[in-house]
Amino acid sequence: MSLLHVSSPHIHGPNSSVESVMKQVLLATIPGVVVMTYFFGPGTLLNILVGGAMALAFEAWALWLRGRDYKTIVRDHSIVVTSTLLCIAIPPYAPWWLLLVGIGISVLLGKHAFGGLGYNPFNPAMVGYVVLLISFPLQMSSWTEPRGIGEVPGFVDAITALFVPGSYDAITAATPLDLFRQNEGMMFSDLMSARPEMMGTIAGVGWDWVNLAFLLGGVWLLRQRVFTWHAPVGMLGALALCAVIGFDDGSSTGGGSMLFHLFSGATMFGAFFIITDPVSSAVSNRGRLIFGALVGLLVYLIRVHGNYPDAVAFGVLIMNFAAPFIDQYTQPTVYGMRQETKE
């Protein structure tokens, strides 16, 4: 027999691989995507499918350019996760070129320009999203009216909207966060009662369910131990705390209720699917708690005082810059360094 000379340990934990982690993240998006499809029609689903194909092509191309083994590395599914998250964030019924630009930026600039999986300092999906948001504000702010208000487009409409831009005109409307932004002078309770068909009772028709569905997927990921509770709890906690402090329903400058902030826009999606990206966040548990809390604070500040209706992407990208800095100050206490044992 030839004796294999390998280093310890010689056994490995069960079923853990980058693929399985990525697969679990993809599975966990299902409830959110299903609810989005119910309220906004099949646009997001189609985005995910077409965007995924584009992302795989870009990924293989980038790996080939970099002289890597593109046949095996593509299998880690990480690029499908990136494209899926971006496609969930992009409005449904977006034209194909918007997807192409966004995914191209995510894969090439967000990921491979820095060295590929594991080396990207910024969340690739959010890099793509922010580039689109700044470059194509019109297309990026056209959300369809949710079911119950307007007619939900069908699959044929979705395909038409995607491949023949301009030929299908989805009935778009301002999202609850847009309304909130546009009615700064209005008291929050007045806004809620003035536009009940859009604002619903908590955080906007449809959006509360979408957020609940992403929360469900996120909690499942937590239970599967794909990530720890620190970053999501940090973000949601900070956002809720800011909302409680800033909620002043008696005056026109009130910042919206806590439930409104927690269950509208990309809050839950961001808390469980975006800021939990381990590569670009802080590394220690305490660091991730701080990282999440600061994202939550930024989301609140930008939503209430900034120029954009939602802010998860900006919050995450800004905090990606700060992650190494957080790491410097949040090293856990190593065994044998406890104060009382130091003498």
Partner: protein, 508 residues
């Protein structure tokens, strides 16, 4: 009941201890030759006191300790020394080292031994010397000379002796078996150890996956007031000395320190027996109980093996199928290392020889990029950030590695076990540690040569300054003479004349 404390991290790998059928000690093989390395412990190798061709008896010292951190080597049976040469020895780096090779005569004739029965009447130095002369090094796996551990000179002394029967490594059941079969001897040995170091408490620590061992130890400890059996939940690596101290005492060994710094001494159960035999019987350490296991052996079990027995003979006795597997491990699957040569011998630290089949221990999967998921940090019993250490190890950033406490890594392998990217993290840490060590030595060397260089520069400067001062003085004198109206040429001629006259006077 003693309060048990939890440690950070840890993992639960499949235990697979039943495979080696704990609870029975089988006699090991009698090989044709024993290969006895001079260095079976941490510290200076022993120095041979026999020559090729010498007849040796069982129990006879064949190599003596060299320096304080060293232990002698004894012949486990009678025979002839046929070689003193370099052979492959068990070591993580697969190296060779000097060994004394004894061809056995099969008579097993022993040199007479005598022990001390009234050990309580002897002082600790005498007893420690017995332990040292018996060649005892820790049998748990690290192989640190036991006498040195006993010789702690801490002012406050040692208050607690822990007999570490945790045995958290999967597959291994040697300690379990020893505890089941020799519980009374362990307690008796522990009493001697406690007497030597002045400990007031003996904790017999057993993980809760070994109920039979815990029961045997509890029965044995009944007659010993200071001893207490403590069981605690099974988790890897609870058996790490530092981890066990935290579990039992809720205290941490200071970073870079040893248990004695906080008044604790840890010993393996088999070491306690070896100490008992060394003192009461005068018998040196020449055998040990080793687990032979894995699905590639037909008759797994715990065997009493003569030190120096080639692993090949041991596996042969256990019905090893050499076509079934791709490696043989010295030690367990978490911290053991792959044997590079089956001729290498069983030594004092060999607690297990594991021969798995290829299905049982498949070859490692190719490593994927680190995605910083942080599972490793959750598993790390030392609360390190393995993912960060990995990046810094790759970048050879020694400053950051030390800032992130790489040197507190115990190389347990929990991080690599949980890594979804299958990165051989421990390998990176080992190599980074030795890189840091090399760099430190390099720094000492370069500091020395810089010192030498600076001293030389200083000397040259001093000499140049002195020369310059002399020249300036001469110049000043000449100028003074010139100023006083003396003709320098005339003066030189006269000086020459005077010198010549002097010489002529001397010649005549």
């Amino acid at each position: 009941m003693r309060q048990i404390h939890d440690i950070h991290g840890g993992i639960h790998p499949p235990e697979r201890k039943e495979l080696s059928r704990p609870g029975n000690v089988i006699d090991g093989p009698v090989p044709a030759q024993l290969v006895l390395p001079l260095s079976q412990h941490i510290g200076a190798p022993a120095s041979p006191v026999v020559n090729i061709g010498d007849q040796v008896l069982g129990g006879q010292m064949i190599a003596e300790a060299q320096g304080p951190v060293s232990v002698p080597v004894h012949a486990p049976s009678s025979g002839t020394v046929i070689a003193i040469e370099s052979r492959a020895v068990p070591h993580a780096s697969g190296m060779s080292d000097t060994c004394i090779v004894v061809e056995l005569d099969g008579q097993d004739t022993w040199t007479p031994t005598s022990g001390i029965t009234d050990w309580r009447q002897h002082n600790r130095l005498e007893l420690m010397n017995c332990v040292r002369q018996a060649g005892i090094a820790g049998l748990g796996g690290a192989g640190f000379p036991t006498a040195i551990k006993l010789a702690s000179d801490r002012d406050e002394g040692i208050h607690t002796l822990i007999i570490n029967g945790t045995e958290c490594e999967p597959y291994i059941s040697a300690d379990d078996t020893v505890m089941q079969c020799y519980a009374e001897e362990i307690v008796a040995g522990a009493e001697i150890l406690a007497h030597i170091v002045g400990a007031e408490t003996i904790l017999l620590a057993v993980e809760d996956n070994k109920p039979d061992a815990a029961a045997a130890m509890t029965a044995a400890a009944q007659n010993c007031e200071m001893a207490e059996v403590v069981t605690f939940p099974t988790k890897y690596p609870s058996g790490g000395e530092k981890q066990l101290i935290e579990i039992l005492l809720n205290a941490q060994v200071p970073s870079g320190g040893i248990p004695a710094d906080i008044g604790v001494l840890c010993q393996n159960p088999s070491t306690a027996i070896a100490v008992l035999e060394a003192i009461t019987l005068g018998k040196p350490l020449t055998t040990r109980v080793t687990t032979v296991t894995g699905e590639a052996v037909g008759d797994p079990g715990n065997r009493r093996v003569m030190l120096g027995t080639p692993i090949k003979d041991l596996l042969g006795q256990a019905g090893f199928d050499s076509t079934a597997g791709n490696r043989v491990l010295h030690g367990g699957p978490m911290m053991g290392f792959a044997v590079t040569d089956l001729d290498m011998p069983v030594v004092k630290i060999t607690n297990c020889v594991l021969a798995p089949t290829a299905e049982e221990l498949p070859p490692p999967q190719p490593a994927q990029p680190c995605i910083r998921c942080g599972h490793c940090a959750e598993a790390c019993p030392a609360s390190l950030l393995p993912q960060q250490l990995y990046w810094y190890a790759r970048a050879k950033d020694h400053e950051q590695l030390e800032r992130h406490n790489l040197l507190d890594c115990i190389e347990c392998g929990a991080c690599a076990y949980v890594c979804p990217s299958h990165i051989p993290l421990v390998q990176y840490y080992r190599s980074a540690k030795s890189g840091i060590k090399d760099a430190q030595q390099e720094k000492i060397r370069s500091d020395n040569s810089r010192g030498r260089f600076e001293a030389r520069q200083e000397r040259l400067e001093r000499e140049a300054t002195a020369k310059e001062a002399k020249r300036a003085a001469r110049k000043a004198a000449a100028e003074a003479r010139a100023a006083s109206g003396e003709d320098p040429v005339q003066a030189a001629i006269e000086r020459a004349k005077a010198k010549k006259a002097e010489q002529q006077e001397a010649d005549s």
